[in-house]
């Protein structure tokens, strides 16, 4: 472990990597801050710009955008009650209320401190767990791989809220989209409708740019913009009481966020909501939550940062993205010729450990940047969106062209943007779709391998104890929300019928 960390520090502390780490987290803060530009959008549109970099430098910068945006996103929620990213939606409650009471600066400072504490604690967890999980996953055969992927898909369903069926549908549509083109192991072209452009499938990053950049930006245009509340440097002083009250919620949020972040499909957004909900139930000051309480800022902010870091565990160790943004990052790995998963730790130790160590450095930079500079960043909220979105759209299309070097990639971005806009408008979740798109080809590959191993008998997944346990867990995770939904529906109907009869 110490050797790995030393290797990581040697890689992350080169002048070039330090510089791009700084640029990444700075851009992340700005991108997170601007409504309509979330972390996934930022990573997707800036990915083409990193094509000329060394893979480790590019990934350090792109990951910096991801966790940097977690810091920036809260500023928009606190000051204009318009979340910069979905993971900071919950801050529109207590964060915005604190701002209305003249404590905007304190809310920004509390969110930066909670984010930093959570990031450091979750990074220790990430470094401690990612390696051993990857080493354990090296023993997986096709059956275990298939079971793990089905379990990953099942967790998406479990956390899809009242939209369980939409979550399932979108994950399946994502898989279906990933099947376009000639599949590896077969010579049949699927869903190409005679187009030669589609033979090699739909470019994953182009689809991500369409959904997260074009779709999100256009949805934001539909929503409109708000005037920010002013936050001064003097307001940044947090009172002793606010700080004391925030310690336990931040630690609770970190624990919850880390646990949920490890699960594919759960991610930072869910973690922040759960942490807030838990505080509302267990906090000593629960009656004040919702009216501008520091607990309502510290807990969700810690949770979303912890989850963002923890989502790298399944991404790096198993090749299964923990969130929408890590799915886009996974696309970046593939562009640089790397396949995230257990073998990555053996084959590219400098890259993996350099990336992980850069998270520590990046979070330190973010604290130094965000704590005193939050009011400066807040001024960016005054940039008129009318000038910003045409530039983002321009970057998206030209960037997509740079990725594929053909105009068809831009058509894919356009179509995916249209789909992404309607998904957002009609509340079809994007994360299951993205995870489905990533897992589709891997699932099919392990399915074909399992079929070959069992000579056509897929039930061999229950032969090995590990894959049998994973499969049972996946079946339970799929069935539980559906069955419990049906039982609840029946119970509700019975309850509704009783007064009518009475």
């Amino acid at each position: 472990m110490l050797e790995n960390l030393q290797l990581g520090f040697e890689t992350a502390l080169t002048t070039e990597n330090l510089l791009w780490c700084f640029i990444g987290v700075l851009l992340g803060t700005v991108i997170g801050l601007l409504p309509g530009l979330g972390s996934a959008t930022g990573v997707a549109i800036l990915l083409p710009v990193t094509l000329a970099f060394e893979p480790v430098t590019a990934l350090i910068m792109l990951a910096g955008i991801y966790y940097g945006s977690q810091y920036g996103a809260s500023t928009a929620s606190i000051l204009i009650s318009t979340p910069g990213d979905s993971s900071s939606v919950v801050l529109t409650l207590d964060g915005y209320q604190m701002a209305r009471k003249g404590r905007a600066g304190a809310a920004l400072a509390l969110s930066a401190i909670a984010s930093f504490v959570a990031a450091i604690l979750s990074l220790i967890g990430l470094i401690a767990l990612a390696g051993p999980i990857a080493a354990f996953a090296l023993n997986f055969g096709p059956a275990e791989n298939m079971a793990v992927m089905l379990l990953g898909l099942a967790t998406i369903v479990s956390f899809a809220g009242s939209n369980v069926l939409r979550g399932i549908t979108m994950a399946a549509v994502g898989i279906l989209v990933s099947l376009v083109g000639v599949a590896s192991g077969f010579s049949t072209a699927r869903f190409t409708f005679g187009s030669t452009n589609l033979l090699s499938g739909l470019d994953f990053v182009a689809v991500m740019i369409g959904i997260f950049a074009v779709g999100e930006v256009l949805y934001q245009i539909r929503r409109g913009g708000e005037k920010p509340i002013r936050a001064g440097f003097r307001d940044l002083l947090v009172t002793k009481e606010e700080l004391t009250r925030s310690v336990t919620p931040a630690l609770r949020g970190t624990g919850l966020g880390f646990f949920l972040g490890v699960l594919p499909g759960a991610g930072a957004t869910l973690a922040s909501f759960v942490a807030y909900g838990v505080e509302k139930q267990v906090s000593r000051f629960r009656k004040q939550i919702g009216t501008g309480a520091p607990e309502g800022v510290a807990a969700p902010e810690a949770a979303n940062n912890a989850a963002a870091n923890a989502s790298f565990i399944p991404t790096l160790a198993l090749g299964i993205p923990g969130s929408g943004t890590t799915a886009v990052l996974l696309g970046a790995f593939v562009i640089f010729g790397l396949q995230p998963g257990p073998l990555l730790f053996e084959q590219e130790p400098a890259l993996v450990w350099g990336l992980l160590v850069s998270f520590f450095i990046g979070n330190l930079i973010l604290l130094v940047l965000n704590l005193p500079m939050a009011p400066v960043f807040a001024q960016l909220l005054r940039i008129p969106y009318q000038y910003l979105y045409p530039f983002v759209l321009l970057m998206s299309f030209i960037g997509a062209f740079a990725l594929g070097n053909n105009t068809f990639t831009m058509t894919v971005v356009f179509a995916a943007g249209l789909v992404g806009y309607f998904m957002k408008r009609y509340d079809f979740p994007a994360a299951p779709f993205v995870l489905g798109m990533v897992l589709g080809p891997l699932l099919e590959k392990s399915l074909v391998q399992t079929s070959a191993l069992g000579d056509g008998n897929l039930l061999i997944v229950f032969d090995s104890p590990l894959s049998a346990i994973l499969m049972c867990a996946a079946i339970l995770a799929f069935a539980y929300p559906l069955v419990s939904g049906m039982v609840r529906g029946m119970r509700n109907r019975k309850r509704a019928a009783v007064p009518a009869e009475a």
């Binding site: 083409p48 318009t82 069926l165 049949t188 409109g224």
Partner: protein, 194 residues
Amino acid sequence: MRTLVSSRRKAWWKEKRSDIVGTLIMGALGAAATLMGLGYGVFVEGNHVGPGFMPMAIGIFIFGASMLELGRILIASDSLKENSVMAVVETTQQDAAEQIAEVQGELDTFGRTQKQRNRAPFYIFLVLAVALLLVDLLGLVVSFALAVAFMVIVIERRPWWVGIIATSSAVAFIYVIFKLILNIPLPTGYLGLI
């Protein structure tokens, strides 16, 4: 009485229309994928998984889930998962949505009404589609520069000189990054300008 029932039905249809149409589209997609999967061959020699297996299985899955969702929309209520983690999440989501909606008035900071904002994405998609079609003729940079200028000057109603400055800056940035630094051969079209 009949008018009351009719207006209730109309209100119900208006509220649920997009959900029903969206779910039906998903169902049709699932059915189409199933049929196409069958065409690709579900099993190959030796009863092994064939190229049509996944499309067929996923198609059935989408179709089934869409029909269940349709049933939920038409029959069931949108009740929360009582006493569960997701109930806490959904309650908080509703609170946050109400807070955001409360802050959002009819006019945004740019003085646009909701109606104007609803129309804007449609026009922007149209402009982007035209820009894509013009790439072969004008080249990538020129066609998208025109699109940006159109968005700023016509859709956002900014002064023409502001639009020109904004477009020139954006194009200069793009040109330096992609053409000069990354050496990406951006298509110049039949006109061969930049």
